[in-house]
Symmetry: C2
Subunit: 257 residues, 2 copies
C-alpha cells in the first residue's frame, strides 16, 4: 500500500522573499526535508543509502502553484511515492493551508546515483519496497522545458560559492533555482508570480564552475519564461515557468491579519 507522510511547517522569515512569500528555492529545500523524513520513517534514510554507496538525485520538478505560503503561515506538506520503474521513481508533494486548501502540488522524478562512479544505478526493490509505490515497466514521458529563444535571450553569470555545495559534493538543486530566477529583473520578479513550472536537472555543477543563467520570455496566450543553466556551453539545467501578474496588494497583507 502506498505510504503517505505528512509534516507541518511554519514559514520562517529566512524562507521568504522581500514580499514575505516563500521562495521557490526554499520550497524545494522543505520538500527535500519532508521527503527525507518520510524515507527515514521507512528505514530508508540518507545513511542507509550512503552505506550502500548510492544516493537519490532529482531529475525533474513540476510545480502547480495556486498560492505561495507567506511568513508565519503554517502549512501541511504531504508526500507519497507514486510509481517506479527500473530507472526512476516518482514522488508527489501536496502543500495545504490550515483550512485544508491545496496551495501547491509538486511532482518530482528521482534517480539513484552511484556515489563512486556518479552514474545512474538501477533501482532495486530493496530500496523502494517500503514506500509502497507501484512498479510500472513503462518509463513516463514527461513534458520538457521549452528551448530558450537565443535571439531574445538575456544572461547573467555566477561563480559557484563554497556554500553552494552540499554533502553530495555538488551544487544543491535549490541553488540552480536561485540562478534560474535571478536572471529575470527585480521589476519583473516583484510584479509576477509563478503559476506553473518545470525544471530539469541534466548535469551536476561543481566547485570552480562558472555558470551562465540564460532566459527568454514569450507570450503564448499566457506569459512564459524559458531558462537554461550552462557551463562552458553545456546545458546543466533547463526550466520553463508560467507567470501571472501579482494581484496587487492584499496578497500578503491579507495573510498578516
Amino acid at each position: 500500500m502506498n505510504q503517505s507522510y505528512k509534516q507541518n511547517q511554519v514559514i520562517s522569515y529566512y524562507m521568504c522573499d522581500r514580499n514575505q512569500q516563500l521562495t521557490l528555492s526554499m520550497l524545494v529545500n522543505l520538500l527535500m526535508e519532508v521527503s527525507e523524513n518520510h524515507s527515514a520513517g521507512l528505514g530508508r534514510e540518507e545513511s542507509f543509502m550512503r552505506e550502500r554507496g548510492i544516493s537519490w538525485i532529482i531529475l525533474r520538478y513540476e510545480f502547480n502553484i495556486t498560492r505561495m505560503p507567506t511568513y508565519k503561515e503554517e502549512v501541511e506538506i504531504e508526500t507519497f511515492a507514486t510509481e517506479y520503474n527500473k530507472l526512476f521513481t516518482y514522488r508527489e508533494f501536496i502543500v495545504k493551508d490550515k483550512n485544508n486548501r491545496q496551495l501547491i502540488q509538486v511532482k518530482a522524478t528521482f534517480a539513484l546515483m552511484n556515489n563512486a562512479t556518479r552514474k545512474m544505478n538501477r533501482i532495486s526493490s530493496e530500496v523502494v519496497e517500503p514506500y509502497g509505490a507501484e512498479f510500472s515497466k513503462r518509463i513516463r514521458r514527461s513534458t520538457k522545458p521549452q528551448d530558450v529563444n537565443s535571439n531574445q535571450a538575456e544572461e547573467k553569470g555566477y561563480t559557484v560559492r563554497y556554500f553552494d555545495i552540499d554533502a553530495n559534493q555538488h551544487v544543491n538543486n535549490s541553488k540552480y533555482i536561485e540562478w534560474l530566477l535571478d536572471s529575470l529583473s527585480p521589476a519583473f520578479l516583484s510584479a509576477h508570480e509563478i503559476q506553473h513550472g518545470i525544471i530539469t536537472f541534466d548535469k551536476e555543477v561543481k566547485e570552480g564552475d562558472t555558470v551562465k543563467s540564460i532566459v527568454s520570455k514569450r507570450i503564448k496566450d499566457e506569459l512564459y519564461s524559458d531558462h537554461r543553466i550552462a557551463v562552458e556551453g553545456t546545458i546543466h539545467a533547463s526550466a520553463t515557468f508560467k507567470w501571472i501578474e501579482k494581484s496587487g496588494m492584499g496578497l500578503n497583507d491579507g495573510n498578516d491579519q
Copy 2:
C-alpha cells in the same frame, strides 16, 4: 524579570555545508527566528513594530563556538535580552545539545531603525519593557573586528541578487556572512572551523550594489581572518574570525551513529 525563551530545532539538510555541519549564515537565520518568536510571545512581534514604523536591525554579533551542530541533530536555542540603553539592546543566545552541553553562545547588539528615514530611533520603554532587560545609562564598548591587512588581502566580488533582499528591503545579514566566508578558499574552509567571531554591520547593502569581500589572515598565537565588505570603497560590514583546524574525520561520522 528577565524573560527567557527556548525553542528546539532539528538541523535540516539545507542548513548544512558539504560536511553536514550547520553553516554560520543559517545559524544566524535560526537565531533571528527564535528572537522573533520570543518577541511575538511578548506581544512585540514584527507587525507590532511595523505598525509603529520601526524595525530592529542588528549591529553586531559575537560568536563563541564549541561545536557546530550537525545534520539531523536536535538542539535547544535559548535567548534573553540582557540590557538596554537609549540606543541599543543586547541579547544573548545559547545553543545546547541534547545532553545539555553548550555548543554555541552568541551575543547580539540591536538598534531600532525608523523605516521611513532609515535612521536610528531612540529606544522607548514601550518597545522593550516586556523583555525584562535592565536599563543601563552606560553604552557598552565592545571589541571591534581588526582591520584587514591590505598588503596581504585577497578579494572577491559579488552582485546583489534578487533573493538576497528581505522584507526590510535591504540585503539580509545572513547574506553578508556568506560573502564574508566565501572570500576564503574551499581548501581553507574545509580544513578549519570558527571558534570565535565578531561581525559588525555598518551600512545597508541595497539592490544593484556590487560588493567586494576582502580578507587577510594573520597568526598571533592563534589563526585569525580579518574581513571587510565594501561597496565603492565604503565599508558596510567588518569581521574577525578565529579559526582552529578541524579535528580530522570523526567529527561528523561520530554524530551519525
